[in-house]
């Protein structure tokens, strides 16, 4: 057992660090949940991809570096430590691309992936529906067969990035008569500017249009935009890609970097006597700061172990639920601690001129609050942990 990086890993770390030092904007980009910020983040994706830093884990042919999972983790550590911008292409890179690598055709990969890597096409996810939150199997939107393709109709909810993105992907009920709700679904990609698509942006807690409702009325999608077999959408979506997904949803690098920034904030407050009213908070926050540091390190190490398991050919199942609950609670605790340390400045929105660290703590807190809700609520995750990892009786909730 070891925690050693190969020469190649270290080389990648040094290259990434050097590139990031040279390229990361001195002042943070505007929030990617705004039109202005979205454009700026799209441009940043182009800059990343120009030097093949946007999708390091992909094969070279699609713009990547064939980085191992561990090397991807190294890159992420450097990326967030450098204070680089959030990834506006995340939906495509983390959710759609793994599915294409497993179920997509060569034609689909060649057509979709390079444009995704360059930020030319930015993807929204369209999983949820108004009546299908935690309970995805109860999807109602339909895909109806037509010449050479499918007609999509229905409504999608909580479609992140959809306010400004180019295309979206999701599941649609293509075979209404099936025994079980998981059957008869088809995985499709579709353009957000197509005829029949109406987008209603929805403001998140702080008002920024972080997601949207999609109303689809006979939207024509060609067969080439079906991923996998029609009717097999559930299997395609829940594919072994889900495996790594549990690992890539939120990389540890985000948290180790945030924990280091928190310690810096805490030291600054302690040494300087801190913000007015900061002083008492300092002693009181001592444990919370330490726990954030320890938690970030634990999540990093836990992920190294999982990466080692995957590299050894094992697969991750319900373990991802441990991950999800842990990082989402860590993220909130870490940001709440920061806001408490900031005392009277803690309530300033990220747009406020006095907002500390250009509003990073406020924006981060708002973002963190969604953690326990999306990608399977933490209540569902705890049920999964109890039933699949501890073998407790299923069903009763």
């Amino acid at each position: 057992m070891d925690l050693d990086f190969t020469r190649e890993d270290e080389a990648l770390r040094q290259q990434a660090r050097a590139w990031l030092t040279a390229h990361v904007p001195a002042t943070p980009l505007p929030s990617l949940e705004t039109a202005e910020g979205f454009a700026a983040h799209r441009a940043w994706e182009r800059e990343l991809s120009a030097d093949r830093w946007s999708v390091v884990s992909w094969p070279e042919e699609y713009g990547g570096r064939s980085a191992s999972i561990l090397q991807w983790l190294v890159f992420e550590e450097e990326y967030y430590a450098a204070g680089a911008p959030g990834r506006v292409s995340q939906n495509g890179i983390n959710l759609l691309a793994p599915t294409l690598f497993e179920y997509g055709t060569a034609e689909q990969r060649a057509r979709v992936l390079p444009a995704m890597a360059s930020g030319e096409v930015i993807w929204a996810q369209a999983w949820s529906e108004p009546e299908a939150g935690s309970d995805l199997a109860s999807l109602r939107s339909t895909a109806t067969r037509t010449d050479g393709g499918w007609l999509l109709s229905g409504q999608k909810a909580w479609s992140s990035r959809a306010a400004f993105a180019d295309r979206a992907f999701g599941l649609f009920r293509s075979h209404p008569q099936t025994e079980r709700p998981h059957q008869g679904l088809t995985y499709l990609m579709f353009p957000l500017d197509a005829e029949g698509v109406t987008i209603r942006p929805i403001g998140r807690l702080d008002g920024k249009p972080a997601f949207a409702e999609l109303f689809l009325d006979h939207v024509l999608v060609p067969d080439r935009d079906v991923i996998g077999e029609p009717g097999q959408g559930w299997r395609v979506a829940m594919s072994t890609a889900g495996n790594e997904r549990g690992l890539t949803l939120r990389s540890p690098g985000r948290f180790t970097a945030a924990a280091d920034r928190l310690v810096a904030l805490w030291r600054e407050r302690t040494v300087s006597g801190g913000a007015p009213g900061g002083a008492p908070a300092d002693t009181a926050s001592h444990d919370r700061v330490a726990d954030a540091v320890i938690g970030a390190r634990a999540y990093q190490l836990f992920t190294y172990a999982n990466a080692s398991r995957l590299a050894a050919g094992a697969s991750l199942g319900a373990e991802s639920s441990l991950n999800k609950v842990f990082w989402s609670e860590l993220d909130i605790a870490l940001h709440e601690t920061a806001l408490d340390l900031l005392g009277p400045y803690g309530e300033l929105a990220d747009a406020a001129v006095d907002a500390p660290d250009h509003g990073a703590w406020s924006e981060g807190w708002t973002f963190s609050l969604a953690g326990p809700i999306y990608a399977g609520t933490n209540e569902i995750q705890r049920d999964i942990i109890a039933e699949r990892l501890l073998g407790l009786p299923k069903g009763r909730r």
Partner: protein
């Protein structure tokens, strides 16, 4: 001892609750956030008519106060309905002016406060405040610096709070209104009033967040049953209620201590402030989690209360500062 609100106090709260319940406060908050203070001022006038601000003003200035317990009752309702604007600051500023030797300033402002014609913002020379709340909406911004009280008419850029109903700015300079030890003493008193009424607002906001979430949990179904039938949901809501129910008596005791001018008032207020704000923030977290994604949208009015709960947490006394006051050496046993 009868440590319960009496009939009139209950009735007063219920009246405000009914009045505000039909006043469409969410739209007033959204207008306020957009810089349109019209609906907010209209609410203000109705609150004055209901006698809220007179509770802060003594009789010789056309008020009926100061009545901390009744103010606590009223501000719980203001919080329950998320009334926008510097309500806490106006009442605290009135308390400050009332404590000054300078009868002129009191005579000029207090009757207008009682009548709901004057909105005051307030900045004190103490850690928890660096910004004036809604100076653009206020008729005056009072600023205490050391032993000087100034009336400021200039301030820096308006800065958004996580609570859309709150907009903050740093006051600049201003005309000298009063000076001397009485100013310090009055400011200390005003800070206690502000902390107490912020706690009351927070408790009311927490009550609303819990009520909305319980109602939602009864009606929202997942996996074919009401979300509110899941034991994890039930227990989380039970814990949220416990937090609010045990903050309530701390709030009442703090109001009584302030009314009696007890030495323990500062400590009792600090205990009430941190408890009410922690309970309200926990209620916000619960509301957000149990509503799921829809609770995370700003178009659902719930978001106004969730964001207010976060802002009130640090307003007029951070949790850490309040806990430090509770343990301050001179405090002695909190319990007797």
């Amino acid at each position: 001892m009868r440590f319960l609100l009496d009939e009139e106090q209950h009735a007063f709260g219920a009246t405000l609750d009914r009045m505000l319940g039909t006043a469409g406060t969410p739209s007033a908050v959204r207008a306020w956030a957009a810089g349109d203070h019209g609906p907010g001022r209209a609410l203000w006038t109705r609150l004055a008519a209901a006698g809220v601000f007179a509770l802060a003003v003594p009789e010789q200035h056309e008020g009926v106060g100061p009545l901390p317990v009744e103010l606590t009752v009223a501000f719980t309702e203001l919080g329950r309905h998320a009334v926008p604007g510097p309500v806490v600051e106006t009442v605290a500023a009135a308390a400050l002016l009332d404590r000054l030797d300078d009868k002129a300033a009191a005579a000029e402002w207090l009757p207008r406060v009682a009548g709901g014609e004057a909105l005051l913002s307030l900045v004190l020379d103490q850690p928890a405040t660096r910004y004036a709340l809604d100076p653009d909406a206020a008729d005056a911004v009072l600023v205490v610096d050391g032993d000087q009280l100034r009336l400021s008419t200039v301030w820096g850029p308006l800065q958004p709070s996580i609570d859309p109903a709150r907009r903050l700015a740093r006051p600049v300079g201003g005309e000298l209104l009063a000076q001397g030890p009485a100013v310090r003493e009055a400011a200390r008193h005003a800070a206690e009033v502000a902390a107490l009424l912020t706690a009351a607002q927070a408790l009311g906001a927490g009550r609303h967040l819990l009520a909305e979430t319980v109602a939602y949990a009864k009606q929202r179904t997942q996996f074919g049953v009401a979300v509110g039938s899941f034991q994890a949901v039930k227990h989380r809501l039970a814990d949220t209620l416990i937090g609010l129910e045990f903050a309530q008596p701390l709030l009442h005791a703090a109001a009584l201590a302030l009314a009696a001018g007890d030495l323990s008032a500062e400590r009792e207020i600090a205990a009430a402030k941190v408890s009410a704000c922690e309970a309200a923030y926990a209620a916000a977290r619960t509301a957000l989690q149990l509503h799921g994604a829809v609770g995370y949208t700003d178009e659902l009015d719930l978001s106004l209360w969730i964001r207010k709960a976060r802002a009130l947490r640090s307003a007029w006394g951070t949790p850490a500062a309040c806990r430090a006051q509770v343990l301050a050496p001179r405090a002695g046993p909190v319990s007797r």
